[in-house]
Amino acid sequence: MNAKLDFLDGRNGLVSLLVLAALILIVFPLAMGVDQLNLTGRFLSFSFVAVGLVLCWGYGGILSLGQGIFFGIGGYCMAMFLKLEASTPEATAIQTTPGIPDFMDWNRLTELPWFWVPFHSLTFTLLAILVLPAAFAYLMGIAMFKRRVSGVYFAIITQALVVILTILLVAQQGFTGGANGITDLRTLKGWSINTDEALVTLYFITAVLLLAVIVLGKWLLHTKFGRILIAMRDREDRVRFSGYDVANFKAFAFCIAATFSAIGGAMFTLQEGFMSPSLIGIIPSIEFVIFAAVGGRLSLIGAVYGALAIGFLRIAFAEAYPQLWLFLMGTVFIVVVLFLPMAWPGSTRNMRLGRAAC
């Protein structure tokens, strides 16, 4: 019986994955112009964060209101690489110190800061996008989970860290571009990222990476790790007294979510053409949670629909009633969390209980 059910769940899961793949790989590109597709691509890069939140919040019960940190790490790493490529001595010949990013010159820096130097290398940058957020999440996670900080307290601390990060970014203008962020990004290894053709290509890369991340997440949830994640959410003490170091498991889930977010951040920078503190602060960090909640919290695929739905709704609604938008989004969030705490109606009972929806 179990094998058959597993297979059915697997087939349902496969169908929803294929539907999503068809939508973002075929329907959207055919139906949309370049600008709209680029916009959708940016929503998709937010989805990476939401997918990570489904894992660590929906399944693991770890609510982070600070995923902007990791989205930002990914985004800034990519932006630093692109900025360095754009700041050739020839392109910056009018500066006091040619060859360094323009905002550094404006802030009277005469030399590239040491931590910027490795970002000349694309390989280093890509590695940093994957490893830095995980390392940072691991430190944060171990520091808090070993001390049994969880629930609301964890959420508040992550929120505080986002604030610290954005304040730091804004204050250290010479190193980070300040409130404006890192702008005027042009090429990736000589390939212009602003042409229509490039935007379409970047959209497809984002879509494929997103599907890959979802598949990886599904796979993780089907391992013993996935069951322990659910078990920890149900009865943390029982897991501990079954011989597991709960802190390590939580930290790992948090790391995975962080790395997913950073991939999204990097793809966002490429498609938006800049990265700034306003894109990773408190409000975006909370929005990420809303995407995951709207998508059903326990569905990796639903998280993508959540991000897309809120994204398009914002475009449609915010243009007509800009002042009302935040209220509407707040209402949506409250309604979803209060009345649909785990998943959309019509999904199976299994899904409500946190199984098989992965």
Partner: protein
Amino acid sequence: MSSNTDFLLAVEDLTVSFDGFKAINGLNFYMDEKELRVVIGPNGAGKTTLLDLICGKTKPTEGSIKFRGKELTKLPEHRIVWEGVGRKFQTPSIYDSLTVRENLEVSYPRGRGVWGAVAFKRDEALREKTHEIASVVLLAEALETEAGLLSHGQKQWLEIGMLLMQDPALLMLDEPIAGMSARERELTAELLNRLAGKHSIIVIEHDMNFVKQIGRKVTVLHQGTILAEGDMETVQSDRRVIDVYLGH
């Protein structure tokens, strides 16, 4: 008492104080391999606290807990489990969203590290063990049932089964028959008697009929210390035990 390594469990001079209130006060408690011990006592005697101390949920103020000669008070909870101590909680602590099978599998002592869990594969040994334990705790028919849907008594059994998956040397059961029907109590007594030869077991219980069914050696706790210890008849006829606990 010269060498406490002869015992499976040797608790010596154990004291824990919560804001000055000594829930356990200079307690000495010894257990042999494969022994079934029942701990009784009035409310607030420190029975659950004793189990909390042994399994690491609470850290003692003073004293030592040696398990097969190894000091437990310094170990984190999950390491105490690795040493072979299993703990069942008073209210059934199971994973409602997982099936009975998954509940048992999660308790299996392999793949306990993060990477181990990610790489863990179900194999024949696990399947056999799961079936074996499920039939021991009378849940063989319910393997694919979601644990949240089980009856209260079945949940208690499932938690005992989860402990058995760990193959612990010492099982600590906190009121295992709470909320069970008469029939379920009987079955549980049979179950414990069957397990007694294979594991050491500490059972905390209030129900004296149940205690008689399983009790070989009984320890009576009162105000954080041992009031009496011995077989059922000795304890029942003990003047002080009658005064503070059993009543006249």
